[in-house]
């Protein structure tokens, strides 16, 4: 993908400034309809999900006390994985977005909630709610585009370490919660700029370590210890449940912005951006996952990523109901509503991760016959100076 502004067939070229403002107005109306009808049934929904999560988590942990018995291990691990997914996706993510703040219940509020995750809630809220949701898919502004370890857009400069990105991405997926914590800390940038001594950074890092300490103690020490002779099997159950949750949430998040066909934007394109233009960027910069009701709940309704990015503070249980209206708006204005089943979106995102691990144009220009010379070129690019890299990249782009 190339930033939308540089595309030969810009998908919004047919829209006038007036169209864009009309789109914004229609979306404001959709938002208002939900706000006007928000009430008891919605409150009952989130309380029910929280109730189910707590019972499943408690039940699974109880079953795992007998984890030495294989069926108990399986049942408990499946249950704990489901509980952890529910807690992170439909509950934690959405509460921390302020989707349920309107209930004025201090126990279910974005300013008081903490979640089962390495990153403390307040740090995640900053990097996710403020940066990612405001600068969605703007190259150089939205660090969610590859999390600083992956190249997910042609317009992100290729570096030799990108050759390993399929591997980095897989490792990141397995330990996603720690990746997110490091990302929320901006660990990479802080180390690169040698700012690790900064007291503000140290305070935040300490908060993260404290949080990780509590999480690790619960999953890998206390719960196994409570299982007595089943210490090891309960430990493995917790490890597996955390990895399952990490792989799942990573997949869902990859599907949100990385599938092929999702648009990205130039930094200067958002100067003086209007509300309508902001909406339009969210519409084109997100992708949905189609599927069953259970799929929507387990993804925290991020299967409705487009609706979520348009209205990040509306209760997640309402996205499904407004999706047809949003889709109709896309159709009427000739825009591509990007939606596909989970396996297809995951495959598309991973395809991009593999493809962009190589410099732009390399794969397309490589045939069986010129493979040796192409590999030589790649080797030169990977080991040469930035200048050499730039020259070869320019050559390939011109070809």
């Amino acid at each position: 993908m190339t930033v939308l502004q540089k595309k030969p067939d810009n998908p919004i070229a047919h829209l006038t400034a007036e169209d864009i403002e009309l789109i914004g107005k229609e979306l404001d109306e959709i938002r208002q309809e939900v706000i006007d009808t928000r009430g008891e049934a919605d409150a009952a929904y989130i309380r029910k999900v929280i109730d189910v999560h707590r019972k499943v988590e408690l039940g699974s942990r109880a079953v795992l006390l007998a984890s030495g018995f294989p069926p108990a291990w399986i049942l408990g691990t499946v249950g704990l994985s489901v509980a952890k997914i529910l807690e992170n996706m439909e509950i934690g993510h959405n509460i921390l977005h302020g989707q349920w703040d309107w209930m004025r219940d201090p126990k279910i509020h974005s300013t008081t909630w903490e979640w089962d995750m390495a990153s403390p809630a307040d740090q995640w809220k900053h990097s996710h709610n403020e940066l990612h949701h405001t600068y969605t898919n703007v190259i150089g502004k939205d660090n969610d585009l590859g999390y600083g370890i992956m190249r997910v857009d042609e317009d992100q400069k290729w570096q030799p370490f990108h050759l390993g990105q399929p591997l980095w991405s897989f490792i990141n997926a397995c330990f996603f919660e720690y990746g997110i914590a490091a990302y929320d800390l901006e660990l990479g940038a802080v180390i690169a700029k040698k700012q690790t001594g900064d007291p503000e950074f140290r305070a935040r890092a300490k908060a993260v370590l404290r949080k990780i300490g509590r999480q690790v103690r619960k999953d890998y020490v206390i719960h196994p210890l409570l299982s007595g002779p089943n210490f090891v099997s309960t430990l493995t159950a917790n490890v597996v449940a955390n990895i399952v949750r990490n792989l799942w949430s990573n997949s869902v998040i990859l599907c949100g912005h990385f599938p092929e066909g999702v648009e990205t934007f130039e930094k200067k394109s958002i100067d003086g951006e209007t509300r309508g233009e902001w909406y339009l960027r969210q519409m084109l910069g997100s992708a949905n996952i189609s599927g069953s009701k259970a799929m929507h709940v387990m993804t925290g309704n991020l299967s409705h990523q487009i609706e979520h990015h348009l209205f990040p503070d509306l209760p997640s249980n309402r996205y499904a109901e407004i999706a047809p209206k949003v889709r109709d708006l896309f159709d009427r204005y000739g825009l591509n509503y990007h939606s596909a089943p989970l396996p297809k979106q995951v495959a598309s995102a991973w395809h991009k991760i593999f493809r962009l691990s190589l410099p732009n144009g390399w794969l397309e220009q490589t045939t069986v016959r010129n493979l040796p010379s192409q590999l030589g070129k790649l080797y030169t690019m990977a080991t040469g100076s930035p200048k050499v890299r730039r020259r070869l990249q320019a050559e390939m782009a011109a070809a």
């Binding site: 404001d28 208002q32 706000i35 928000r38 009430g39 008891e40 049934a41 919605d42 409150a43 009952a44 109730d51 707590r54 019972k55 408690l58 942990r61 977005h97 302020g98 703040d101 309107w102 209930m103 004025r104 219940d105 126990k107 509020h109 974005s110 300013t111 903490e114 979640w115 089962d116 809220k125 900053h126 709610n129 403020e130 949701h133 405001t134 949080k211 509590r214 999480q215 103690r217 619960k218 206390i222 719960h223 409570l226 509300r275 902001w278 990040p312 503070d313």
Partner: protein
């Protein structure tokens, strides 16, 4: 009038300490949730939980008033008759807090308390409580508070002046102070049917326990202080408690002051002022000690920053909730849809300052 109400100290402090230690240990397994979050699933009224109550029964008193019998949580501390409680109830999914007088007998065998609520036309919470609350509902509670209570010893002669739901704290007092024998009650209500506790009050009057003067305002009009004084010639000898609309209370205060009886009159107002939404207003930040004038079109966040207040902020467009602060009292308007949010003292309604403009005087906890 007692200035402070004695509170019993928590029962069995050693047990409480032990429980707290156990909970801290349990937190090792429940983090990031609290053991309380799980215990609430089993028993929301247990000792150590946030104070809540369960509505056990709803008794209709008049066409627009009802008494709610509530089983309070284990940590409830007995109230003093005449006091009120703040009750938090979810109306259309939104938690709303209001204050109501306690009307129950302290000697109830089942340990329940009761409040009596009159539905106000258009009142969100009062109508919900009177008409739509089912037994079994869990409500949030605060401990009883208020100083509209009898002194010890109780006065030999008392006068109560009440109107409408103003009878409720007085009923709490009459039911629990049988030693009060020389009592005059002057009560105003639109009609005889509208008198809350009408039958019980008339029965008390019939036995001679109280002298009851009912004023049915639909036919007889409103009572003024002069008329009340005429009805109760020995009013100057009586300690007087009054509860009702602000207008009545102010008139009484003036009249009693003119007669040099200020210290013989005790009044009760639930809501000293009704918040009226306007355009813009004075915004005060209690903790940073800043006060500023904001117009009705500027987000409070912008106005405050301009005035040099260090504000939490985020996306500045109403999506990230990084700027949320508690509004302790006042009214704000959501600039996106014009919706007005009001907060009465103690509400602490959380508002997004980046998309909210002042719609009247605002007191923000920051």
């Amino acid at each position: 009038m007692t200035s402070t109400v004695p509170r019993p100290s928590p029962a069995r402090p050693a047990l409480t300490a032990l429980r707290n230690r156990a909970l801290r240990l349990a937190e090792l397994v429940t983090t990031p949730l609290l053991p309380d979050d799980y215990l609430d699933l089993v028993n929301p009224l247990r000792s150590g939980a946030a104070l809540r109550g369960r509505v056990e029964a709803v008794h209709r008193e008049t066409r627009d008033a009802a008494t709610l019998v509530i089983r309070p949580g284990a940590d409830w501390r007995p109230h003093v008759p005449g006091q009120w409680i703040r009750i938090g109830v979810d109306v259309d999914g939104v938690r709303q807090w209001r204050a109501y007088s306690l009307t129950s007998y302290l000697t109830r065998a089942d340990g329940c308390i009761s409040i009596t609520v009159k539905a106000i036309p258009g009142g969100k919470v009062s109508n919900h409580l009177v008409h739509r609350t089912e037994p079994g509902t869990i409500v949030q509670l605060d401990q009883a508070a208020g100083e509209f209570v009898l002194p010890t010893p109780a006065p030999a002669k008392a006068l109560f002046v009440t109107a409408g739901s103003g009878i409720t704290p007085v009923m709490g007092i009459l039911r629990n102070h049988p030693e009060l024998t020389d009592v005059v009650l002057v009560h105003s209500a639109p009609t005889a049917e509208d008198v809350v506790f009408g039958a019980e009050l008339r029965a008390m009057a019939a036995t001679g326990r109280i002298r009851l003067v009912e004023q049915h305002t639909e036919t007889a009009g409103l009572l003024d202080p002069a008329a009340i004084c005429a009805l109760v010639p020995d009013h100057a000898e009586r300690a007087t408690w009054a509860c009702g609309p602000v207008g009545l209370l102010e008139a009484l205060e003036e009249h009693w002051a003119a007669a040099g009886l200020t210290d013989r009159l005790f009044t009760e107002r639930f809501r000293p002022a009704i918040v009226v939404a306007g355009e813009g207003g004075t915004v005060s930040f209690a903790r940073s000690g800043t006060t500023l004038e904001a117009d009705g079109a500027t987000p409070i966040l912008d106005a405050a920053e301009e005035a040099g207040v260090l504000m939490p902020s985020g996306c500045r467009m109403g999506i990230c909730f990084g700027c949320v602060l508690p509004l302790r009292e006042g009214a704000v308007r959501d600039l996106r849809n014009g919706e007005v949010t009001t907060a009465a003292p103690g509400d602490g309604v959380l508002i997004q300052t980046c998309v909210s403009a002042a719609a009247g005087a605002c007191d923000i906890d920051h």
